[in-house]
Subunit: 519 residues, 2 copies
Amino acid sequence: MALKNETYTELETLLKKAYAVQAAMAVIEWDNETAAPKEAGELTSEMVGRLSGVYYEIMAGDDMGKLLKTCEKKQESQKNGQKDGSKASEKNMEELIKVRMVEEAKKERELLTCVPQEEFEEYTKLTSAAGKTWAKAKEQSDFSIFAPTLKKIIDFRKKLASYRQKDGQTIYEVMLGEFEESFPENKLDEFFDIIRKELVPFLDEIKKSGKAVDNSFLKGGYSEEKQRELAVMIAEYIGFDFDRGVLSVSAHPFTTSFHNKDVRMTTHYDDWADHSLFSVIHEGGHALYELGIDDRLTQTLLGQGASMAMHESQSRFVENMIGRSEAFWVPIYGKVQKLFPKQLGNVSLKEFTAAINRVEPGLIRTNADELTYSLHIMIRYELEKALMEEKIEVEDLEKVWADKYEEYLGIRPENAAEGVLQDIHWSQGSFGYFPSYALGSAFAAQIYEHMKEEIDVDSLLKEGKIGEVTDYLKEHIHRFGRLKDSRQILRDTTGEDFNPHYYVKYLKEKYGKLYGVSI
Amino acid sequence: MALKNETYTELETLLKKAYAVQAAMAVIEWDNETAAPKEAGELTSEMVGRLSGVYYEIMAGDDMGKLLKTCEKKQESQKNGQKDGSKASEKNMEELIKVRMVEEAKKERELLTCVPQEEFEEYTKLTSAAGKTWAKAKEQSDFSIFAPTLKKIIDFRKKLASYRQKDGQTIYEVMLGEFEESFPENKLDEFFDIIRKELVPFLDEIKKSGKAVDNSFLKGGYSEEKQRELAVMIAEYIGFDFDRGVLSVSAHPFTTSFHNKDVRMTTHYDDWADHSLFSVIHEGGHALYELGIDDRLTQTLLGQGASMAMHESQSRFVENMIGRSEAFWVPIYGKVQKLFPKQLGNVSLKEFTAAINRVEPGLIRTNADELTYSLHIMIRYELEKALMEEKIEVEDLEKVWADKYEEYLGIRPENAAEGVLQDIHWSQGSFGYFPSYALGSAFAAQIYEHMKEEIDVDSLLKEGKIGEVTDYLKEHIHRFGRLKDSRQILRDTTGEDFNPHYYVKYLKEKYGKLYGVSI
C-alpha cells in the first residue's frame, strides 16, 4: 500500500513554497555580499527578518502539521505492511524521497518550533548585536570587551539546545547534531584523539626535518586582472559550468545555491596568488556538489548537501586531494606560467607543487595549510566542549586558547585578535560547527583512498581527464543531495563506516614525502 | 476619534510582510537581469511563481480582509465625526498615511482577487509563452507568426479588465487606470489631440527648415571602460548616492528599488556615447525619486512613485529638461572633453548641446529624440484604443501601424520588425502602459515651467548647484511617494490641474530655437 500520492504532492508543494522563500533569502544574502550598497544593510535586514517570518509560518503552520502527520501515518502502516525491515537504500528512489522528505521536514519543523518564539527573537537580537561587539573587541584586540557578551550567548545557546536534548545526550552533542546529525559526540572524541596523538608529533617531526619550502614566488605582482583570468580558467577546468553558475567577489569567499541550475561562488583577491586560486578551487568543490544534485531533488529540502561536513569533504577533496596534487597541474601549469611569466616562468612544476603544499604552523585558522588545519579545529573542539561542560570559564578562554596553540602548534598568540577573537562563529552562536571542517577533510581522505582503488586518479589528472574524477563524486555523492546521511554515503561509497585513520595516513604519506620524514 | 492604533499597526505589519515578499521578487529580478547564469531562468521562474503565490495569499487572505474592514469602518466613522469634509491634505501626515495605506491595500487586494485564480494562471501561461512567439516573429520580421497569439492576449486581457469595469467605463479605461488612475480616458484623448494638432505640423516645420545638426562625433572610439567612468561621474553629479545605490549593466536599462536605502539602476553600452550617457541620466531621474521617498513610507505600499506617469516625469525631467540643457553641461563639459579628447576636444559646448538634441524622425521608439517621442506614443495610444474598441482587427495592425508612421512622422517601416513588432509590451499583455511615457513628459514640462518661476534653474545649473534643482523635486514630489495621486501632486506643486499646453510650449520653444523655426 503506497502513500496516497495526492497528500504527498500537497506536502511537496507546500515545502517548495517554503523553499522558494528560503532561496529568496539566499539571493538577498548573495546580493548583499556581492553587490548591495553600504547603507542598505539595516532595511534589508528588516526585509529578511520578515521573510524568515514567512518561512517560519509555512514550516510551523497547521497545514504543514496536518500533512506531515498524514504522510507519516501512511508511511508507518506501509512499513508495517512490508515483509522484512528492508532498508531505505533498497526501496525505489521515489519512495525513498518521500520518506526522507517527510523526515527532513519534520526535523526542520521541530528545529523551528521547539524554542518559544519570544526567546528565539531575544536570542536573534543578542547575536545580531554581538557581531558588532566582537568586531570592536577584535579591532582593539581586547577580549574583555567581548567576554560578557560571549558568556550570555553561551548561556542562551545552552538553554536553546536544552529544548531538544534527548535522554543521554550532552548539550554539546545537541549542538553538534545541528551540523552533522549522524555523528554522536563520542565518535568525534575518538576522531580528535587520533588527530592529537598522530598529527601533533608528526608536525614536530616535520619541523625538526629543517627542510625549507620556498613559496615566495607566489606573492608580488599578481595583478587582480590576471588573477581573475586565472580564476575563471581554473573554475572552468575543474568543471564549474558558467552557464549554470556565477563567480563573483566578496570579502570572504563563499558558495551559495538557489537550485542546481544556479550556483554562485565568490573569491577574494590579495597579494598572494594562491589565496584566490585555492579559494576558487575550494569553493568550486562546494559548487560541483550543488550543481550535481539530482533534478528531482533540487528546490526541495533534500536538494542540499548531506551535511556541513560532507559538503566540506567535497570542497576539501577538490582543493587538497586534487588541486594540490602535482598530477592536477600537469596539463595546465604551462598555461599558468604563460599568464605569469615573470613570477612563474622559471619555477618548475615540482617547485610550484611544493610551494602550494608548504607547511607552516600559524596562528590564523583561515590561513592554515592542509596539515595544520585540523589542529586549529581540534583546539576549537576542545574549547567548545570544555565551555559547554563548564570545565572552563569564559574569563579564562584567552589564556587557555593561547596555551593550546603553544602546546599543539608550538606558537603562542601575542594578542586576542590573533588568538581567541579571530573567528566570527561564536559571536553568531555557532557552536558545534567547527568540527565539520576537520570531519570533512577526513571524509575526503577516506573517499580518496577508496576512489584510487577504482580509478587511476593520478593518471586521469595528468591526462587532463579531471571530469572522470569529479563524475565519480557526482555519481556517488552529489546527486543524492540529502537523500542519505553522511555515514550512509561513506558506507555506500567506500564500503565501510567512517574511519579516521585514512585521513592520518593520507596526511602522513603526503607530507612525509614532501618533507622527507619517515612515518 | 482616531483609529485605534493597534489594528492599524497589525495591518501595517501584515502589509510589510507582503512587501518583503514583493521586494524579494524585485531582488531576484534585478539579479536575473544583471548577474544570473544563462540556464537559471526556468527554475528561477518557478521560484518566483511560488513567491508570487505567497504574496497573493497574504494580500488576498482572510487576515488582511478583516483588518482592512475594521480599519475602513473606523476611518468611516472618524470621517463622519468630523465637522466639515476637510481634505486629506489638511489632515496631519500620520492620519493621511493611514487612510492612503488602507486605500492602496484595498486596491491591490481587489486587483489580485477580482480575477478567478484559474483564469489568471491561464493568462500568465499565455503571456509567458507569448514572449517567445513575439521574439521569433520579430527575428523573422513576420507579423503573421505573432498575430494569432496577440489576438488571444487581447481577448483575454479584455475579459480580465471586464471584471473591474465600472459603470460608464470603457474597457480601455480600465487598463489605463492600472497605470495612471487619476486620468480618465477623455483626459488622455484631449492630451493626444493637442499633441497631434500641434506637434505633427511643428515637426513638418522643422524638417522644412533644412537645418542639419551634426552628431557624428558622439559615435566611434568611445571605449566601454571610459564610458563606464563617464556613467559613474554623471550619476554622482546628478546626485545618485552610491552608498545607497548600485549602477550595473543589463540588456535594457531599468531602475528598481528595494527600499529608499537601496536603489539600483542599469545602463547599456554601445557605439554611441549618448546612448549610455542619457540612459544613466534618465534612470538616474527614476532613482532620485526612489531615493527621495520618505523614511516613513519606504517598505510600504506608499513607498513607491505616485504612478507610472509621475515616475516617468521625474526621469524625463532629469534627462531632458535638465540633462539636455546647455546649462547642465557648463560646469562639467570640460571634464567630459578630458575623458574623450579625441572625440570631443574640438567640439564646442554649443555643438555638443545641439547634437544631444538632434531631431530625427525614426521608426524605433526607444531611439527617438525628445520631440518625436510623443508621436511614437500617440500612435500606440491610437492603436490600442482602436483595438479595444474593435475598430481595427489584429490582422490589419501591421498596415495601420505603417500608415500612421507615414502620416505622423513621414517615414514608413519596411518590415514588421521595425514596425508593429518592435515593442515587447503587448506580448506581455501591457495595454494602457504606453501613454504613461508621454504623460510623464507633459507632467515634467508643467513642473519645469512652474519651477522656473520659483528658482532660477538655468543659473543654478550653470553654477553646478544641480542639488538645489533636484531638492525641489524631492521636496514637492519624491518624498510623498504614493501618498498623493499624480493630479494632486501637480495641483500642489504647480497650483493647477494637468495642463498639456505647457508640454507643447516647452517643446516648441526649445526646438524652435534650435532649428530656427518661428512658433
